[in-house]
């Protein structure tokens, strides 16, 4: 009797599964989400997780030296991980460097317990250097899994992949994943162009990508979406660099004039424009 009942339960489960599977698949297709059980489980809160994982990457970038929710931050702003990936000239600190005043979130110890307790966690501000930067990658990958529309994650990961880790193929693949989620992202296109220009030594492809990025930026600007002007300046800066490398003076002049309109460094650029004009006159 019990066996018969178990058989009946099994048949019921099987029938239910055949009924629910197509419904679940159509739900996935409608919502356009991947079928990862983790994503289904966390739902829309995945954006919070994505931000938290990005913060974890920053914690690892600082080798554990990071403010908790109890520590006062001097100012709100982008993380050092983010800043470093946006600054080509590099603004990163060497490992085991002394902290700046702004970075001393700990302040002076309030009592002997706090003073003694500081021996048990990192209290020196450092940044990961060279291949050690690989340690932030799992968190960035997880952040992108959680929120594929978080553009900073792709740009930051691709920067470290193509510079410190010398993995341009992986950087390109990751950026293309980001482009599939955000096809109009000029930030991702800017970084993708850099992969082609600096790592794959393919300036023609890089130029095409940067021009597409500039078109996207302008389109978003006209649509009133207020894209970051700093990104436009960076795209134009890269185009100017390409012109300088190729020796195309007419294109260089046009790009410099465009850059002068967008950049706050107008004085320096005006001098460069005059120089190019002089060369063209000869």
């Amino acid at each position: 009797m019990i066996r018969l009942a178990l058989l009946l339960v099994f048949v019921c489960c099987f029938t239910l599964a055949t009924q629910l599977a197509p419904v679940f698949e159509s739900f996935q297709a409608r919502s356009g989400r991947s079928g990862s059980p983790l994503l289904v489980l966390v739902g829309d809160s995945r954006r919070l997780f994505a931000n938290q994982f990005f913060v974890m990457a920053d914690v690892y970038f600082h080798s554990g030296y990071y403010p908790t929710i109890f520590d006062a931050r001097k100012k709100e702003g982008p993380s050092h991980l983010d800043v470093a990936s946006h600054e080509e000239a590099g603004g990163s600190k060497a490992e085991h460097e002394e902290p700046d005043e702004d970075d001393q979130f700990l302040g002076k110890p309030k009592d002997w317990i706090e003073q003694f307790g500081r021996n048990f966690f990192p209290t020196v501000h450092t940044h990961l250097q060279g291949p050690n930067a690989r340690e932030i990658m799992p968190w960035l990958k997880l952040s992108a899994e959680m929120d594929p529309k978080r553009i900073d994650t792709y740009v930051t990961a691709a920067y470290w992949l193509r510079t410190s880790l010398d993995k341009p193929d992986e950087a390109e693949q990751f950026l293309r994943e980001g482009l599939r989620a955000s096809p109009d992202s000029h930030e991702i296109l800017l970084e993708l162009g850099r992969v082609y220009f600096y790592n794959k030594k393919n300036p023609r492809a890089a130029r095409n990508i940067w021009e597409l990025a500039l078109d996207n930026w302008r389109r978003q600007n006209l649509a009133g979406e207020k894209p970051d002007p700093n990104v436009q300046e960076q795209i134009l800066g890269e185009l100017v660099r390409d012109d300088q490398q190729s020796g195309n003076l007419r294109q260089l002049l046009a790009d410099l004039e465009e850059l002068a309109k967008a950049s706050p460094r107008k004085g320096t650029l005006d001098k460069e424009i005059q120089d190019v004009k002089a060369k063209l006159a000869h």
Partner: protein, 259 residues
């Protein structure tokens, strides 16, 4: 002393006869190895996330072992009435408490050695290094921390009637101290007034278990902690354990042994 060691020996035997440790160890090993099998951007030298996850699991497992093993010691003896012949041996109540404490603490130490050896092996498979100094410091501080936890749970087992309520309260206290204990002074200063003063008093009174969590040093390959600092933390931990054991004895000596 022989009575104390005999009692401790029984507790240690109990640890390896029960399945708690094996289940937690296998679970830790399994989760760590599954995480280790994941490859990010074709780089097989990424290790810190793995160390982080493994150490977190080790801390959770060790706390579960310490709390659950200790919480059932005295209530189980009382429930089965074996405490009466035990105290008629003669074993004094103070010896019973010290014996139970020592047994649980040593059992936790043995479990920690196995856990940290596994952690070292997993790390060495990627980093090809055995930084024994920092491993020893982390294990030692972890063990001292568990000593305080064991003493706290033993105190709870003579205050609370059921082991489950004792274990739950102790888990809440321990995790609360681990996460917020070191920041109570800052919160107290912000609060001000009488409530701020009370909070500051609590801050000074609680055992600062967060000191003993030096996972960041292991994960991010920091240099050794000063040995003098380790000695200071050890002394603080031992004093706190002794204080809690003394309080346990004070409560236990006037307690009726039958339920």
């Amino acid at each position: 002393m022989n009575n104390v060691l005999a009692l401790a020996g029984v507790v240690i035997k109990e640890l390896y006869r029960r399945k708690d440790f094996y289940v937690l160890f296998i679970l830790t090993a399994l989760i760590t190895m599954v995480l280790g099998s994941v490859k990010f951007f074709n780089d097989d030298r990424i290790v810190r996330y793995l160390k982080d996850a493994c150490l977190l699991l080790i801390w959770i497992s060790s706390l579960v072992i310490a709390v659950t093993t200790t919480a059932r010691q005295i209530p189980a003896e009382r429930e089965s009435r074996t405490i009466l012949p035990l105290l008629a041996k003669p074993v004094s109540r103070a010896q019973l408490i010290v014996g139970k404490f020592l047994g649980c603490w040593l059992a936790c130490g043995l479990a920690l050695i196995v856990f940290y050896f596994f952690f070292g092996a997993i790390t060495a498979s990627r980093e090809h290094a055995w930084p024994l100094g920092i491993y020893f410091q982390a294990l030692w501080l972890h063990w001292i921390c568990l000593g305080i936890v064991v003493a706290l749970v033993l105190f709870g087992s003579v205050v609370f009637t059921a082991p489950s309520s004792n274990a739950t309260v102790c888990f809440i206290i321990v995790t609360g101290i681990m996460f917020c204990g070191g920041h109570l002074n800052g919160v107290a200063i912000h609060m001000g007034g009488i409530s701020g003063t009370i909070l500051y008093a609590i801050y000074y009174s609680i055992p600062h278990l967060e000191w003993y969590d030096v996972r960041d040093f292991l994960i991010h390959n920091w240099a050794l902690i000063s040995w003098a600092v380790c000695a200071g933390a050890t002394l603080y931990g031992l004093l706190y354990s002794a204080l809690l054991l003394g309080a346990t004895w004070l409560v236990f000596r006037g307690k009726t042994l039958t339920l």
